[in-house]
Subunit: 357 residues, 2 copies
């Protein structure tokens, strides 16, 4: 068995947008030499100015990271494979399509290509949004295909670890199925709910609560990017849409027939689904409880609340602020472990906070 190769650099990053520049910054932070290229001189200059690396001028590199939108991904990966004797990876949202393009246009070199996908920061864009710590603690999928060279896989794994990510190996097909379910379908469903609000009769949307805000939040993502992502994962997404159509039909039949237990059973399956999502830091979902505090909308009030919570010593796992029309009072929801909720509520109430138990 050969020793796994060590990631020594140089690393060439193709595409100095948000992800490319962040990978570059993370690699620089890890002590690696980084070269950059981008069709936009401005992006290149900005990324370089941020300390992400210097402009590529033809030297040999150990690893190439292709960080461009889905439409050009396969083409650029194949170009790099033909031009360099280096391992090539990418950071795109979908993995089967670029692999298929490589198999079609650079089959002799496909063993040096191991695609990957960091689950980080997709709503923002451009090099100025980049950060060396963007990937810290985040899952980063490595798409291991049948012809992938083991050393190439190892090198990409080292890249992920150098950037602080959590490597998760799966096949390109598994990856695309997974993100269809955890990212692409939710995006489409959020978009459908949001579109129904566009022509709501006057005054109806005044009855909006936190629920519809949560459901539709991700629907605000850039359509030009999302149409590329979804188009590149069309078969996995279409399969899920078929399942959704069936599910909508099941709800419709249960509601129309007045079959209450059938409706309740469908809803209960949704509850089960919410419990399947991994908890914070990737552990199993832990039982949480919420403490609701009404906080006047003055600067400093939130700080005071968190200072008190800090002194009380209960760790806050999640926070939500509810939007209240008409009055400048916000309902802050502090999500804490079930075991600590009562203590937090009591202790905050003692400090004169307005607790909604």
């Amino acid at each position: 068995m050969t020793d796994a190769p060590s990631l020594r650099g140089p690393v060439l990053v193709v595409g100095a947008g948000l992800l490319g520049t962040s990978v570059a910054l993370a690699c620089r932070k890890a002590g690696l030499e980084v070269l950059l290229t981008d069709t936009s001189t401005e992006h290149l200059r900005t990324a370089s100015g941020l300390g992400a690396g210097r402009a590529y001028d033809g030297q040999p590199v150990q690893l190439v990271v292709v960080a461009v939108p889905p439409d050009h991904l396969g083409t650029l990966i194949a170009e790099q494979l033909r031009a360099m004797d280096a391992v090539v990876t990418d950071v795109g949202s979908i993995k089967s399509q670029p692999l298929a393009e490589v198999l079609a246009t650079a089959p002799a070199d496909v063993r040096r290509y191991v695609g990957s996908h960091p689950m980080a920061g997709s709503e923002r864009s451009g090099p100025l949004a980049a950060s060396a710590t963007l990937f810290e603690g985040r899952p980063w999928a490595i798409a291991v295909h049948e012809q992938a060279d083991a050393d190439a896989v190892g090198l990409v794994r080292e890249l992920v670890e150098a950037c602080g990510g959590v490597p998760l190996e799966l096949t390109p097909e598994e990856h695309d199925q997974a993100v269809a379910r955890t990212s692409h379908l939710p995006h489409l469903m959020a978009s459908i709910v949001a579109e129904r609000l566009v022509h709501a009769p006057d005054g109806h949307l005044a009855l909006s609560g936190q629920g519809v805000r949560d459901v539709t939040r991700i629907a605000a993502g850039d359509p030009r990017l999302w149409q590329q992502i979804i188009a590149a994962n069309s078969s996995a997404v279409l399969a899920l849409l078929d399942e959704v159509e069936a599910r909508v039909g099941a709800f419709r039949d249960a509601i129309a027939s007045g079959e209450r237990s059938a409706l309740g059973a469908l809803l209960a399956e949704g509850v089960t689904g919410t419990r399947a999502i991994p908890g914070k830091h990737g552990g199993p979902p832990r039982p949480m409880s919420s403490v609701f505090v009404a906080v006047p909308d003055h600067p400093g009030e939130l700080a005071r609340l968190f200072a008190d919570a800090g002194e009380i010593g209960v760790n806050i796992e999640d926070i939500r602020i509810d939007h209240d029309p008409g009055r400048p009072v916000g309902l802050v929801e502090l999500v804490v472990s079930v075991a600590r909720a009562e203590h937090l509520a009591d202790a905050l109430a003692e400090r004169k906070w307005d607790i909604h138990r």
Copy 2:
């Protein structure tokens, strides 16, 4: 024109759960005498012990508030109308069905019935979860039907204002249409996305991000309550489900045909929908921007962040904490107005916070 009646009390609250006890507490806080009744002696004793009022023993009252789950709402409203010469309201999630039951069983008294619905606190339950300030600044719909007596409407409006709510008058049909769109459809869609996670292959859900958590959050609500709500609003919900089915079909056709511009147009309509939701405090949506800060998961770190933000003087409109598997670092998203985001980011960076721009 007669003078509008003045809300003087006594107020009888039927049902000492979360909403009923909260209405009772708010009325007590407003200086009104409150009587309570509930089929559960324990709920009654608890609510009374919290200072929500005393047990009803037959005295005349000015206003009755029926606060029971949808299935018994119409029956109990009609009972109260027949038993009392008082204005009767309720706080249920749907308004047409109880009105229809009253028209069928107590038609002579329907002018004294004006249903209402406070948009507050539906995920928690029981008198211990109640609060006198639950309704502060929240929309509270008043369902004005054709036969409603103007003085009765005025009295319910005063109840809403006494409880700190923001009264919104609309017809029962308009109300049910509105909540079908802003609450019931989103609930069903969240449930459908969540149910698709139940049988995900091993390891796939490790690729979950904040998006799927946001979309599915409300799907965790109690199925026994939600089946009542949805069943009681079936025609409005069914109409929207038909529209959703058509929309799913449109997405499916655009994706299957590879028609990129059609897919992009559908997604863009969803973006428009997200901008239709009212902003904080009921105003028009204001352009917001997010500042992302990586915060180590130690007690006190969040407090320190908010103390700094408070000193910097930028008002935080919303907060989200992203969940990061594997590493104890949380990405905190501070939502602030577009005009202040750059300043907040710069100032926090100066204080050594790890900003992901």
